[in-house]
Symmetry: C2
Subunit: 518 residues, 2 copies
């Protein structure tokens, strides 16, 4: 067990040259920790950028197998973290031990999935078009193409996932797997957790002979974020958090001369459509299931079902009543911070007239409105971050179509519809598919499976670039770019593009996909 | 043969509601054509956007096979265009007939390559993770993922490629192949050519029962471009042209609430490094080869070798002299427009004190500077659009490393180095690889092969998004985004994700790549 220093990690060096400090607060009790954490100074951030830029060219880090071993080692180091991690994370976030243990397991699993899948080389998009020296009017050259890393990535730790979307979370794992050094901007909601995990990454980097600068960790607020986004050494940004935070980063990036990709996963209200027949047939179980999803993690997931589209039928009022009761009956649990609680409390009060209690804790809330009210008031589409959902009672098919068409971009859309209704109501989901990143049949949106087929992202404003997922192995694609080698002598090509490399990885040969030993 | 109308094509309707007009000019003679071309009105552009947005949901257009047939038909229609096209293009651009015929062939070839490769389904990135209903603590759902089109794309026709990067060029072909309707912004340098090709596309769309709005064509200047970039119906931008033009589009896009991807291929100076040994061994042929590449298309290619990095050796001054003579001896050919000629003439005069002549025509120019001069004057890195190249005489290895590190992002980098020098000088190309999109061994950068392994793009400012190519089949990836289907009943999945679809296309099954019949 390491002592907490409250310092920033600039490459392999713990550093505290800044003056401002931050203190960890227990959201459930309001008590503060003794350790103070230093906000990174502009010079420290500059140094992190320069070190990252050099580390990006390091042969050890660029070697696919060595990099994979490094990521496996990070997973091992995190797995070995014991009580200190759990106690710190529970203290800072108010989340229960079981959740922290579960999230630790997910973090380790994610790291190992990247470390494993990267060895298969699918993400390299290897391609070889062979020369045709006799072609007329001009010979065809030998051209081979592969993906290489874009360069250093600034990752912004998420408030609602102190481990799985933070220091060694999915963004960090995918950037490192791609071959990009990471500068991690810590979240002030879990300062101690950030440092403990950073210590684990540093140990892994040293054990695996990774270059100084392969990972840095800095604390701070908007100023630190702004400097990172504008740093010329940074090639890409990954962020999971609020719309306000994401939009601020996008605005900073727009002030850069050189455009860089900014991946912001900003959450959404994840519409859930329930047909009138389904309500009738599932009055006994669905309200409980939905209430469980809405209240999961005290409602602080980006896939929280914040919008229920209920086709009006004979059982709709019973359905809403059962759901509302079930939500109100949830035992109040702590929210992630007093700031988040205040924001949630204000919105809930505006919308329902009710107030969550006791301080910093909440049970679940439901507001029911008509389709007409929903269409008239654009503000009802705004995410309420916490255990709240809006039930919209829909009069007819025309109103439903209007509502679906008016929806902003979403991470997910769920359809609770009987199978024999699917064909007849197919038009819903063809419209819905255009507005979401993942469409779910008879299931809740919470619970984001970590697998290659997962898409976690969606049309604006759910995320800033709908073409990429932030969960699952394909998240690596955010941090890669192609480069072609024309007429290079065999022995001077990068290993992956040599005959030996091509014979061990999937690749296209003159446009035909080939899987060796496949 | 159709009569030229000078109108815009809004969906399937020729329209001329605007007041301003543009006239085709022959750059070689200065004479104007009789037909005037209407600048599109704001209402016409709005209509094109709305039609495109509706066309994006059309089942015929979304069907992979029908869409492929449509693209094949466009190729056939263009192939059938005869003298009218050649005469118009030669008149407007000053390019010789052989070049226009070659470019027509390339355009048809590109369209067919997209139409063919899209049927293989590799670009769909199909993936299936099977359910594990017995998994604890929670069952694993069935998740399948595929790429779908992002929505309507605004394509900006390039000035220097009236066919291959214009109305039915690579950007249009890749957007249509992806399933995205196209609004084509014509280039005022080849107004007649734009309309003739648009007529061919309209015929193909009608013949293949494609929806109204699958393709529109509008004429105009910066105002029209600005409106297109800011149109809420537009999901993506593709542009090939000058840095000034590209930066203007990026600035317009930054004013949008909703960020969209902007793909600008803005050209570069394409450094060519020649070792002193190579100069000695190839004094007889390389100067001629380089002069031919610099003068190709009167130097108006984005892959024009504008920067020659010459290691100083015993034959360097002979090498420069031969190259300079060869360039000066080129028979002056017309440039694309008087505007381009004026720009070129001004820059050449500033740099060399010489002047191209006769009016609107040019032979080739070379300026020779020391490594030190090059490092001191950032302006020497600016592209001179036309038949000009800058030879930099490099004193030693340290200076060369400094120069390579100081280079801006480039489309290509060439190495003329003997094979036995490659190992020793490997450091050059590992640095160079980071600055370019394509690296060429002992070859000129001009001549961009259209094949899956081609990468045409590069780090800023060569292009605005180095992660994507604008030439070759992978250009389709700019216009796709993933969507996941969770727990959907087999018969209600999109065909591509059904068992039948998966059994006919390459896909990942639980992370393992599978090629049916492969």
């Amino acid at each position: 067990m390491e002592t907490l220093t409250g310092k920033n990690l600039i490459g392999n060096t713990w550093s505290s040259r800044g003056n401002a400090v931050l203190s960890p607060i227990n959201p459930a009790t309001g008590s503060a920790s003794e350790t103070e954490f230093f906000v990174a100074s502009p010079e420290e951030i500059d140094s992190a950028g320069e070190l990252a830029s050099r580390a990006a060219l390091d042969p050890n880090f660029l070697d696919l197998r060595k990099r994979s071993a490094f990521i496996y080692e990070i997973a091992d180091q995190i797995e070995q973290l014991g009580d200190q991690l759990v106690e710190a994370a529970c203290f800072e976030t108010g989340l229960p031990e079981a959740r922290i243990m579960g999230e630790k397991g997910r973090t380790v699993f994610q790291l190992r999935q990247f470390a494993q899948h990267m060895l298969a080389g699918f993400h390299l998009d290897l391609s070889w078009d062979q020369a045709e020296t006799e072609r007329v009017p001009i010979p065809k050259p030998d051209i081979r193409k592969m993906n290489i890393p874009v360069g250093p990535v600034a990752v912004f730790s998420a408030g609602n996932f102190p481990l799985a979307f933070s220091t060694a979370g999915g963004d960090t794992a995918s950037a490192l797997a791609a071959g990009c050094p990471v500068i991690l901007k810590g979240h002030e909601g879990h300062l101690m957790t950030n440092e403990i995990v950073s210590q684990a990454i540093l140990k892994a980097a040293e054990k695996c002979s990774m270059p100084d600068g392969v990972f840095s960790f800095v604390n701070g607020g908007y100023d630190v974020g702004e400097q990172l986004v504008k740093d010329p050494n940074i090639s890409s940004i990954a962020f999971t958090g609020s719309t306000t935070g994401g939009k601020a980063l996008i605005a900073y990036a727009r002030e850069r001369d050189e455009p860089i990709p900014v991946f912001c996963e900003m959450g959404s209200i994840n519409p859930v459509l329930v047909s009138s027949s389904y309500q009738e047939n599932h009055l006994d179980d669905l309200p409980e299931i939905l209430a469980g999803s809405i209240f999961l993690g005290t409602g602080q997931f980006c896939t929280n079902p914040g919008l229920l589209l209920l086709e009006k039928g004979s059982k709709t009022s019973d359905f809403v009543e059962k759901l509302s009761k079930s939500l109100g009956a949830q035992n109040p649990t702590p929210m992630l911070s007093s700031k988040i609680f205040e924001g949630f409390s204000t919105r809930v009060k505006q919308l329902t007239g009710e107030e969550p209690s006791p301080k910093n804790h909440s049970s679940g809330f439901l507001l029911s409105v008509s389709g007409e009210q929903f269409l008239q008031d654009k503000k009802l589409q705004e995410e309420v971050f916490g255990p709240f959902s809006l039930a919209v009672i829909i009069e007819n098919q025309e109103e439903l179509q209007q509502i679906l068409s008016s929806l902003e971009g979403q991470l997910t859309g769920s359809l609770y519809i009987e199978e024999d209704e699917l064909h007849e109501k197919g038009a819903y989901w063809s419209v819905l598919t255009r507005r979401v990143g993942r469409i779910i049949y008879n299931g809740v949106p919470t619970g984001v499976e970590v697998c290659p087929s997962m898409n976690h992202g969606g049309p604006w404003p759910a995320s800033s670039d709908q073409r990429f997922t932030s969960v699952g192995f394909d998240a690596i694609r955010r941090f890669l770019r192609p480069v072609s080698f024309q007429d290079f002598p065999e022995k001077h090509l990068p290993f992956e593009l040599s005959r030996e490399g091509l014979s061990s990885f999937p690749h296209r040969l003159n446009g035909q996909l080939i899987v060796p030993n496949g």
